[in-house]
Each structure stands twice: as structure tokens, then as C-alpha cells.
């Protein structure tokens, strides 16, 4: 609010109620009244002769009166500007970020040992984190959550618009936190669970994996079924190049491990929930995939873009106008106090 008080240069703002500008017609009236008063003999004191007054080039009092009138006029102008409800265009963006109802996204990320494979540089996990990070940064209005899974699934970050915390949480992600394995079903269902309470118009899960479903109580297709029931769109991403991928083992040695992705399953999940399956063979592709999802979901955000009602900026105008008018009155009644 204090910054609002200082921000009073009137030209950087947009005005909601432009009709209020009609009030500016008052200003010529004020000036006309001032001139009328200036001209009329009513406000003058008859004096026998002004001969004995020193002749001055500039009559400071007359000048000060003009200046004082200018103060008054500017004060009134600021009142009118305040009526017109000013807000800065910068504010609108900021406001959208905070208040527009975005969509809910849960990124469900596989963090099994196999994510350390180095077919994506520097490895799958780091690449995925990096790409996810830029994805999050590009969608400031959405609530985004992060679910990680190996043989078990857990929520790294619930859905939040506080993306700074989210990115912090994303940074902390590493492999081998729980029992090794790949429970795609659990990962999916946990993500779905996070979206259960959501009342967003569009709910999206980005499910990322690099292997086969080999553990967990819940079959991926069952989870997909539930997701469909709840109106969640699932985009599935298979990570890993064709054939085999180098995997670090003990002692800095690399071992080529075959890449097994259940593409059929992932495609089925995607199709069932109205999403799409992608295959990321390298980091660039992964990035493109995220961009693609970003594009697909962006159009929905626009639908959600309801009428903007940004925060008012009028305080500064009102206070400044008030100060000027009070200043005018004070000067008029002290320095320029005159009869009548």
C-alpha cells in the first residue's frame, strides 16, 4: 500500500472508469470562476490611490495565487483520476498470476535407480528435473504438485501456486529414497489422489517413467480407470533411448542396460484419459514434450480467463489529491489570506 501512495505519476496507468474523465469539465469551470472572481470588483478593496505603492515587475502575490489555484486544480484532477480507478498494466499480469483460476497439474516422476541412466544428459533424473523446472516456471498461474515413485509412491509437494517452494522441492529430488522398483500404478494413483479434492476445471497428470511396472498393489490400468472417472487427463512420457542405455555402477564404471518401456500400457493410459503418450529419447525431445503439453493446456487456461478485477491504485491519487487540496486551503487561509 505504501508503494501505491508513492506511485502517482498518472500516465503509466490504465483507467477502468474512463467515464469519470468527464469530470475534468469541472476544471474549466473552476478556472472560469477564478477569472470571474479576479475580474469582479466585489473581491477588491477600493483605495484612493495606488500611486504610493512601489511599482514591481512581478507581483508575487498575484503569481502565488495562480500557483495556488494550480495546486487546487491538480488536486481536483487527482481526485478525478482516483475516481477513474487507475491500475498499472504491470499489476494486471501480477494479478493474473495470483488470482486467475489455473489448472491443476501433478507431475508424477519415476525416481527409480534406472533414472540414473545417462542416455539423457547428464542423466535421466537431472534432465527430467531441469525440464520440469522450466515447465513450472512457464506456468505461473497453475497449481502444480509433485509426486515421486519407486516401488512406493509419495508426495514430494502437494499442489501449490507457490512455485518457489515447489522448485525447491523439485531440486531435492533424488533416487533411492524408498524401496527400489517401479510402481507406475501407485505413482499414478497417488497423483490422482492429490487431484481428488481439486475443483479446477482441468486436471492434468504428467506421468513419467523409464521402465516397466514391476511392483505395487495397483495396476496402472486400474489407476487410469479412476483417473478417467475423476476427469483427469494423463499425459504419459516414456524416457529412454532405443536399445540400451549406459548406467553407472560401482566404481565409476558404466554398464549398458537395455531400455524397457511398456509403451503399450502408457499409450493406453493416455488414450483412456484423453491425454497423449510421448517418447523422450533425449533431453531435447523431453523438452519438446513438455512444451507440447504446455501448449495443449494453455488453451484451456484462456477459457478460464475470467473478467479481470485487479487491485486498485487509487490510494496514492486520493491522498495526493487530498494533500494538494488541503495545501491549497491552508495557503489560501494563511499566506494568501485576504479580504474578503
Amino acid at each position: 500500500m505504501w508503494s501505491n501512495l508513492v506511485d502517482i505519476w498518472p500516465f503509466g496507468f490504465e483507467y477502468v472508469r474512463k467515464e469519470a474523465f468527464w469530470f475534468f469539465l469541472v476544471i474549466p469551470l473552476i478556472i472560469a470562476w477564478y477569472i470571474y472572481q479576479q475580474r469582479s470588483n466585489f473581491t477588491r478593496i477600493n483605495f484612493s490611490s495606488n500611486r504610493n505603492f512601489a511599482k514591481k515587475k512581478v507581483n508575487w502575490i498575484a503569481l502565488m495565487r495562480h500557483v495556488n489555484l494550480a495546486l487546487f486544480v491538480i488536486g481536483v484532477s487527482y481526485f478525478i483520476l482516483a475516481l477513474a480507478r487507475p491500475h498499472s498494466p504491470v499489476d494486471i499480469d501480477d494479478y493474473k498470476k495470483k488470482n486467475i483460476e489455473g489448472i491443476d497439474i501433478v507431475i508424477s516422476m519415476d525416481v527409480s535407480q534406472s533414472m540414473l541412466a545417462e542416455d539423457l544428459k547428464p542423466n535421466r533424473l537431472e534432465a527430467a528435473k531441469e525440464v520440469a523446472k522450466s515447465f513450472i516456471e512457464d506456468r505461473p498461474t497453475d497449481r502444480i504438485g509433485l509426486v515421486l515413485y519407486e516401488a512406493e509412491a509419495y508426495t514430494q509437494s502437494p499442489m501449490t501456486t507457490d512455485h518457489e517452494i515447489l522448485l525447491e522441492q523439485l531440486e531435492k529430488v533424488q533416487t533411492g529414497m524408498v524401496t527400489p522398483g517401479t510402481a507406475i500404478g501407485l505413482g499414478l494413483i497417488t497423483a490422482v489422489n492429490r487431484l481428488r479434492e481439486s475443483d479446477a476445471k482441468s486436471k492434468v497428470i504428467i506421468l513419467m517413467t523409464d521402465g516397466l511396472n514391476n511392483s505395487g498393489d495397483i495396476q496402472p490400468m486400474e489407476a487410469a480407470e479412476i483417473a478417467k472417472e475423476m476427469g483427469v487427463t494423463v499425459y504419459t512420457i516414456g524416457v529412454g533411448q532405443d536399445g540400451a542405455a549406459p548406467m553407472p555402477v560401482f566404481g565409476g564404471l558404466n554398464m549398458n542396460v537395455p531400455v524397457e518401456i511398456d509403451e503399450e500400457l502408457l499409450t493406453d493410459i493416455a488414450i483412456m484419459t484423453g491425454g497423449k503418450y510421448y517418447r523422450a529419447k533425449n533431453k531435447t525431445e523431453l523438452k519438446h514434450i513438455y512444451e507440447d503439453i504446455d501448449q495443449l493446456e494453455k488453451s484451456k487456461v484462456k477459457v478460464l480467463d475470467f473478467k479481470v478485477n485487479p487491485p486498485e491504485k487509487y490510494y496514492g491519487f486520493l491522498v495526493f489529491g487530498l494533500l494538494l487540496i488541503v495545501g491549497y486551503k491552508v495557503i489560501d487561509h494563511t499566506l494568501l489570506k485576504h479580504i474578503p
Partner: protein, 287 residues
């Protein structure tokens, strides 16, 4: 102003000033303005101290007791009132505006003149001659003069004293007494007053309001010059402004006083708030 009101006002001034001129000023006026010749008035009993040469020997012989002749000076003076009716006279901050004070002064002088059997005339001027009433005797004439003074609306606002003095010397050929009643806020009139006072007996009555010397502290004010109509903003709260103003006003005052002295013109300074009896008395006494 309707006639009834006018008559009332004339009456008021008459009552106020007639008493003054009968009681206070009669002797003073009489002796201040003497006529030329001496006219025989009466004879009365000789009393100790009378000059021997005033004894009327014919009467003394006839009554067998000393009688002296009493002479009265010949009056038949002409008194002219030169009255400034410019707009600046319509100013006053105390009990009267200057024009009212001048009107009363004129009435006093007129009644004094009529009780001394003098003729009285009137010239009203602004920056030109507004009205001329030729000198005459009689009470009704005085009342007319007072009426004109109260009711007259000048056509012009400025002040031109030399024009008035020139007109006066041109119109009145006989030596006369001229009272110039004005605030003397005018352009230079030294030549005209010198010429006029060579032939006539010119007396200047300078009527001023106190605010013309001491600006009252009334804050910032837009003062309008009554004569030119120009307005100017003056900060009367500033001591410097008031001091400067007073300096200028007093300097001009001094200048005019010197001019009067140089041209051997008698003058009295009258302020609207102080009454005019004292200055008039001292003027008459000092002549």
C-alpha cells in the same frame, strides 16, 4: 438619493455646521479674512483707552460728552470653494469618507462666509471642471451649494488640480479667497498654484484618511485604485511593505507642504478621523 433624504441630509449638515461657524469660527473667520476698506458703523461713548484720534468731535460738541466713531471693515469678500470630487475622495476608513468631510468643511466655510456678509461660489472638479456655481450671497444659495455637494455625481474619476486653478483664475477676476479642498493626490500643480496665489488668497485644505499613511494590516488584499481602476495585490501584513508605503506617502506629503510654503499658500491638514475644528482654528489664528 431622493429629495426627501437629500433635504434631510442638507438640514443635518446645516445644523451641525451652522452652530460651529456661529459659535466657534465666527470671530476667527472674521479676523482671518479682512476686507479692504473701512466703513463707518456708529458712534458710542468714549471709554478709557480709546484712541484720541477716533473721537468724533462734532458729536462730542453736540452732546457735551466724548464720543468715538466706530468703523467696521468693508466686507463684500468673494469666497470660492474649489472642491475635488474625483473618485479618490470616495474613500474613507474611519467615521467618514473624505467627500463627506469635505462637504461639511464647505458648509462650515459657507455659513461663516454668509454670516460675515461674504459672497460664496463653488467649483467642483475632477480631471476637468465638473460644475461652476458663481459667487452669490444668501442662505438659500448656501443650501444649494450644500445640496450640490451632497448629490453631485462626477463624470470623471481623475484629479487635475492645475486645471481647476487655471479655470478659477480665468473665471473670477476680482481678488477673492479660494479654499482648495482636496487630497492633493494629483500630478504636479505647482505652477498653477503659484499663479493663482499671486492674485488671490489661496488656502489649501488637505483632507486625508489615516489609511493613506498607515496601511492597516488586513492581510493580502487586492487594492483597486479608484481613479484609474487598476488593481494590484498588496500584502499588507508585511511590515516592510507598510513601512515603504508610509515612507513614500510621507515624502509626498512633505513635498506638497514645501510647495505650499513656497507659493505662500496657507494650508491645513485635516484627517477624516480627527475632526476639522482644531486644524481650522489654528489656520485662522495663524493668518
Amino acid at each position: 438619493m431622493d429629495t426627501k433624504e437629500l433635504i434631510k441630509k442638507v438640514r443635518k449638515i446645516e445644523i451641525k455646521t451652522k452652530g460651529l461657524s456661529n459659535q466657534i469660527f465666527s470671530g476667527e473667520y472674521h479676523s482671518a479674512f479682512k476686507g479692504r476698506g473701512m466703513a463707518f458703523s456708529e458712534v458710542r461713548d468714549y471709554s478709557v483707552g480709546d484712541e484720541i484720534r477716533t473721537i468724533d468731535w462734532n458729536v462730542t460738541a453736540r452732546f457735551n460728552a466724548p464720543f468715538v466713531k466706530v468703523f467696521e471693515e468693508e466686507r463684500e469678500l468673494t469666497v470660492m470653494l474649489l472642491v475635488d470630487v474625483s473618485a479618490s475622495e470616495m474613500f474613507g476608513t474611519r467615521n467618514q469618507i473624505k467627500r463627506e468631510t469635505i462637504t461639511e468643511l464647505c458648509a462650515v466655510l459657507a455659513f461663516s462666509a454668509v454670516s460675515n456678509n461674504d459672497r460664496i461660489g463653488l467649483i467642483m472638479f475632477s480631471d476637468q471642471i465638473e460644475m461652476f456655481i458663481p459667487p452669490k450671497k444668501g442662505k438659500s444659495h448656501i443650501l444649494r451649494i450644500i445640496r450640490e455637494l451632497i448629490n453631485f455625481q462626477p463624470q470623471h474619476t481623475g484629479t487635475n488640480i492645475s486645471e481647476a486653478l487655471k479655470y478659477f483664475t480665468k473665471m473670477v477676476k476680482k481678488k477673492s479667497i479660494a479654499f482648495v479642498l482636496s487630497d492633493f493626490m494629483a500630478d504636479d500643480f505647482s505652477d498653477a498654484i503659484k499663479i493663482a496665489s499671486r492674485k488671490h488668497d489661496v488656502v489649501a485644505l488637505k483632507v486625508n484618511d489615516k489609511a493613506e499613511y498607515d496601511l492597516p494590516n488586513i492581510g493580502v488584499a487586492q487594492l483597486r485604485d479608484l481613479e484609474t481602476g487598476e488593481s494590484t495585490w498588496i500584502n499588507t501584513s508585511s511590515k516592510r511593505v507598510r513601512r515603504k508605503y508610509k515612507e513614500v506617502a510621507l515624502a509626498k506629503e512633505k513635498e506638497i507642504q514645501q510647495l505650499f510654503r513656497r507659493s505662500k499658500t496657507d494650508y491645513a491638514e485635516i484627517h477624516t478621523d480627527e475632526g476639522y475644528i482644531k486644524p481650522l482654528m489654528s489656520l485662522f489664528k495663524n493668518r
